[in-house]
Amino acid sequence: MEKEKKHLFDKPENVKRLLIIFFSLVGLLFVLDFFVDTHGHFPFETWPVFYAIFGFVACVILVLVSRYVLRPLVKRREDYYE
């Protein structure tokens, strides 16, 4: 019985739906940023969509550095210490 049961994300249309909701929220936040006074402690915080760009760029850099710089340096076989 367990095998026949389809779960939430087994259906591709559900995954698609989730992605559509997610991308719309991302778009909504982009628009919202222009209507909210985002002033904080530093002048650059008021730049349009500063947080969006920062979050995106930060994570891309994080992943690229981890994958292409750190991993080649530190990756070893699982039994390296044994």
Binding site: E2, H7, L8, F9, L19, F22, F23, L25, V26, L29, L32, D33, V36, D37, T38, H39, G40, H41, F42, E45, V49, Y51, A52, I53, F54, G55, F56, A58, C59, V60, L62, V63, L64, V65, S66, R67, L70, R71, L73, V74, K75, R76, R77, E78, Y80, Y81
Partner: protein, 592 residues
């Protein structure tokens, strides 16, 4: 006063009773113990000091003030949920170790003098290493030894600092210290070891993932947070801490992205979160200290929740590597839900606990116009969402279906996770109670429109980066591999050095053993045993007419002399002659 006990007494005495209880009684006992402790703590009036005289000093066993109270509350809560979480464990050992560990943490945060503090600080190490060894695997044993060694170094540094400081000032008081002289630096370093500062952090990422399922939940709550407390007590406003904290917040996220063992990912994110607290202590303003304490409080909850959810996965599937997991939302939906609450809390989503505490530290950095610090912390905020917020739930519960069809986590684990998840949401939504127990009055308001929007924006665009990188295949695939960290230095070169030294000294030892013990001693022994016979035979040999002459049924004369002297059965005359000879020799020696 007389009807309350020092908080640690309840836990430590309780721990000693646990082995004598039958399983059902024990289960009730370990859950009730933190409740009793908590009520006791509430009954102790604020600003209480409990002192006791020891040798020439007056020790302050308990000091209740606002800073220690905040930690005292959360330590009780953490012990309570962890005790529920580990109710499946049959052996008493883990309960005893856990309660001694938690009791030591309580003793340390309430200690009013350096001596008492040091005693509990070391007890903390003993309790925690037991939780690592309780796993009883070869790896956990080795990791436990490494863990213990590093903490011994930190403890000795602390002890040396305390001894010097007491010598200088004549006072045992544990209050503000600040970086002044050698003694204060030694204490600072001792705290730093437990706080998992960069380069010193490897005991954490090495050993925590090797502990038992419940052990890791215990461990994530106490050692680093006690160190955070100690730094907040003794070194608030020390600028160096800002930079130490910034590095702590930033570098572990890179390791977390490529790490396969999901509990080790959480260990790296633990270092990252403690980084925020250390920055707060370094800034040292009222807002920053409040932020550090509030974040410690929340971190114990959401990090505990994340470790609990991963522990439940491990309990059911026996796997913890991302490469072996995925799709578990189908069989463990509740655990998946609780994990997501923990992930949202650590990522500081609005309405979840991280949102109201992490931002206090960020805001304090902003108030001080520390642009670089603020930007790195913002980077770390995006990064922590990336690895702890998305990676943990995604690779364990969603992503590629690894085909595990297991039962949902046991009830007691779900209850423990449920309580913790509730507290994470409660602290994030109704933040006033949390703010009311912080060391200083709080003027900070987390829920401004700007804060909610900017934080949501930061997180959603981090998630967007994750989604796009994953869909495009750039996101690093999980690999069955380990990643080197600074522990490499003591696990490889230092280990090589030890082996080299061992080869040299063991060789020297063997050589000395052969030459001195075996050969030289044997030679002396042989000579001493036969000396008399040689002397006697040398003297009488020339006078024996026929050396080969033997009487019927007797040995040759030489053999008989040797036997007689070896067995002490020589004719009296021979002994007398020898003794006389000795006297003559001595006489000649003395006279001339």
């Amino acid at each position: 006063m007389s009807n309350v006990l020092p908080p640690f007494v309840i836990f430590i005495l309780g721990a000693l009773v646990i082995p004598f209880l039958r399983q059902r009684v024990r289960s009730a006992f370990v859950v009730a113990l933190p409740v009793v402790g908590f009520i006791n703590l509430l009954l102790i009036p604020a600003d209480t000091l409990m002192t006791v005289n020891f040798l020439d000093y007056q020790l302050t066993l308990v000091r209740i003030d606002r800073l220690s109270l905040a930690f005292g509350y959360i330590f009780h809560i953490a012990t309570f949920v962890t005790a529920i979480y580990i109710l499946h464990v049959r052996k008493s050992f883990e309960y005893v170790a856990g309660f001694i560990y938690a009791g030591a943490a309580l003793g340390a945060v309430f200690a009013g003098d350096l001596f008492t503090f040091f005693v509990f600080w070391e007890t903390l190490n003993v309790g925690s290493v037991m939780l690592i060894w309780a796993r009883c695997s070869k790896r956990s044993t080795a990791a436990g030894f490494r863990y213990f060694m590093i903490h011994i170094v930190g403890g000795l540094s602390l002890l040396a600092g305390i001894v010097l400081m007491v010598g200088e000032t004549g006072s045992l008081a544990f209050g503000h210290i600040g970086l002044t002289g050698l003694s204060s630096w030694l204490i600072f370093f001792g705290f730093g070891v437990n706080c998992a500062w960069p380069f010193l952090h490897t005991w954490l990422t090495d050993a925590y993932p090797e502990a038992t399922i419940g052990g890791t939940v215990f461990l994530s709550a106490f050692t680093t947070k006690t160190a955070v407390y100690a730094l907040a007590r003794a070194y608030p406003g020390t600028e160096l801490l800002i930079w130490i904290g910034v590095v702590m917040a930033a570098f572990p996220i890179f390791f977390a992205v490529i790490e396969n063992d999901l509990r080790r990912v959480l260990a790296y994110s633990l270092v990252n979160q403690v980084g925020f607290m250390v920055v707060g202590i370094g800034i040292g303003t009222e807002l920053a200290i409040n932020g550090a304490v509030a974040h410690a409080f929340n971190d114990i909850l959401f990090k505990g929740l994340l470790f609990m959810s991963m522990g439940a996965v491990m309990f059911r599937t026996g796997k913890i590597n991302a490469t072996d997991l995925g799709g578990l939302y189908k069989s463990m939906p509740w655990t998946a839900g609780f994990c997501i609450v923990g992930a949202a809390s650590i990522s500081a989503f609005p309405l979840f606990s991280g949102f109201v505490s992490k931002s206090m530290v960020m805001s304090a950095a902003g108030d001080g116009q520390m642009v670089a610090v603020w930007l790195v912390l913002l980077f770390a905020s995006a990064g922590v969402f990336h690895h702890a917020g998305i990676k943990i739930p995604f690779f364990a519960f969603f992503g590629h279906d690894a085909g595990h069809r297991v039962e949902e986590a046991p009830k007691h684990m779900l209850i423990a996770m449920g309580i913790t998840a509730f507290l994470c949401v409660f602290n994030g939504t109704f933040y006033k109670p949390l703010y009311s127990i912080l060391p200083y009055p709080v003027l900070y308001e987390p829920y401004t429109l700007a804060h909610v929007v900017t934080q949501t924006e930061l997180l959603f665009y981090s998630a967007l980066a994750f989604t796009l990188l994953l869909l495009s295949g750039i996101y690093p695939a999980e690999m069955r591999a380990i990643n080197l960290d600074f522990d490499w230095f003591y696990r490889k070169p230092l280990n090589g050095l030890i082996n080299g030294v061992a080869v040299f000294f063991n060789g020297l030892n063997r050589l000395a053993d052969r030459l001195l013990v075996k050969e030289f001693t044997a030679a002396v022994n042989r000579f001493a045993a036969n000396a008399m016979a040689i002397v006697v035979w040398t003297l009488i040999g020339p006078f024996v007419r026929d050396r080969s002459h033997t009487l019927q049924g007797q040995f040759p004369l030489k053999t008989r002399v040797e036997l007689a002297l070896a067995s002490g059965t020589a004719p009296v005359g021979l002994f007398a002659a020898c003794a006389g000879l000795l006297i003559v020799v001595l006489f000649v020696y003395i006279v001339f």
